[in-house]
């Protein structure tokens, strides 16, 4: 999330996030050697949009607290559960705790959903470009598109350094997705390892499409430049940058 964004495009509006609530961990599964998905059952289920995020807050016995925001990876639905994929940052106070201590059955304090800008409502064409862990909110969009039978609306391009860093590797591939490896590729991969270029985008861009770019700041700038070179007006591009969020 966000220090500043520009007011381009219609301003979204979303209700203030609800109060802190308890969520029970109902599942934990590894996505990569350094990323796990945590499935949480909310005590007070809240509808959310693809692209939004939730906060997790940890409280120590002396009252010390730490909180971070994590994008929702699951498609909106009425299960009352959400999935958050968390990259384990070596110095990350919260991500280290989630990876090393949290078990199924634990209760975590959460708040959300949050974010009224970087959201896709499932009805308009969208080009999604994610770098590394930046794929998480885009995965919620892809899953929504597939579940509603509107995969034709989205194109997802994911850039990772090497195969073992690809999130959702079993689920993500499909006719609407493109995987870019920048350092090393799987055996006999048709594309050489290298950074994203306009040639990696799927065909001519739909002029009605909105661009959703998510990743590190450097990746976000590079991906934005690729979209612009491919002809997408800057006001159609929405960006979410991941800083070190521990």
């Amino acid at each position: 999330m966000t220090e500043q964004l520009s007011e381009s495009g219609p301003p979204g509006s979303f209700p203030p996030p609800g109060k802190w609530q308890m969520a029970r961990v109902t599942g934990i599964r590894p996505e990569t050697p350094t990323a796990k998905t945590f499935r949480l059952a909310l005590s007070e289920p809240a509808p959310y949009l693809a692209g939004q995020h939730f906060l997790i807050r940890l409280t120590a016995p002396d009252g010390y607290r730490a909180q971070r925001s994590y994008s929702v990876a699951s498609a909106p639905g009425d299960s009352g559960e959400i999935e958050l994929t968390v990259e384990h940052l070596p110095d990350g106070e919260v991500s280290s705790f989630l990876h090393e201590v949290v078990m199924v059955g634990d209760e975590l304090e959460v708040r959300g959903p949050i974010g009224g800008w970087f959201v896709w409502r499932g009805a308009t064409p969208a080009v999604l470009i994610g770098g590394g862990s930046g794929v998480v909110p885009l995965m919620a969009m892809l899953r929504l598109a597939r579940q509603t039978g509107r995969a034709d609306l989205v194109n997802l391009v994911v850039s990772v350094r090497r195969p073992e860093e690809l999130y959702y590797a079993a689920e993500l591939p499909g006719p609407e997705t493109t995987i870019i490896y920048t350092r090393s590729t799987p055996p006999s991969w048709p594309r050489r390892a290298g950074r994203l270029t306009p040639a990696d985008l799927p065909g001519p861009l739909n002029p009605e499409a909105t661009g959703f770019v998510c990743g590190s700041s450097g990746f976000a700038d590079a991906a934005t430049a690729v979209l612009r070179r491919a002809g997408m007006p800057v006001e159609r591009i929405r960006v979410e940058r991941f800083g070190p969020t521990g």
Partner: protein
């Protein structure tokens, strides 16, 4: 208060950190939701308008010729990072407002950016030595991804109030929510009160 099983937290905690914040160290995360604009100093300007006796507009060379002012201290982003012990150089908003002479009815400002971004603040939060327009960070020109050529700096509030690529202040007699504020974020944003979202 609900405690988290097994969580003890990192110690010691720097007393300069507001609740829920962590020290980002030497990094300075870039968090904007759009492409970074390339704005030349020749195209940059800053104006004060609205409820003032004398609307004023400064070009780049003009604002830099004003008496300078420094900030040394901490900054806090609503995404929970804080950056401690930083320094900025620019001009105090007090100096700028003195030229424009706010009317007695002015009680809020809407800060605007060259990108179209807006954010709202009580006038009292940008007066009395609490706010600056800055162009140097740690003695060097402010990088464009951090709002260069110049940004607003209101370090006692969450950093989305410190509009990047700032273009001016509009003085108002009412509070008019800016971009993030219309999107659910708090109208004031005091990090020590954890005023992150509307209703906090």
């Amino acid at each position: 208060m609900v405690f988290t099983r097994g969580f003890r937290g990192r110690r010691p905690r720097d007393p300069r950190l507001p609740p829920g914040q962590y020290d980002v160290g030497t990094d300075w995360p870039v968090l904007t939701a759009e492409a970074t604009p390339t704005l030349s100093t020749a195209n940059w300007s800053f104006n004060i308008e609205g409820l003032v006796e004398q609307p004023v507009k400064w070009a780049w060379d003009e604002i830099r010729a004003l008496p300078g002012s420094d900030y040394a201290g901490d900054i806090h982003c609503v995404t929970t990072w804080s950056k401690l012990g930083v320094s900025f150089h620019g001009v105090s908003v007090d100096t700028l407002l003195a030229a424009a002479r706010p009317m007695p009815s002015a009680s809020f400002v809407l800060a605007t950016s060259h990108t179209g971004y807006t954010t709202n603040l009580p006038l009292a939060d940008v007066t009395g030595g609490k706010a600056w327009v800055v162009w140097d960070f740690e003695g060097r020109p402010l990088a464009k991804e951090h709002g260069g050529p110049a940004r607003l700096l209101v370090p006692h509030l969450y950093f989305w109030k410190s509009a990047k690529w700032v273009s001016g202040l509009r003085l108002l007699d009412h509070d008019e929510p800016g971009f993030w504020e219309r999107n659910g974020y708090h109208d004031r944003g005091d990090p020590w009160l954890e005023q992150r979202y509307q209703g906090d």
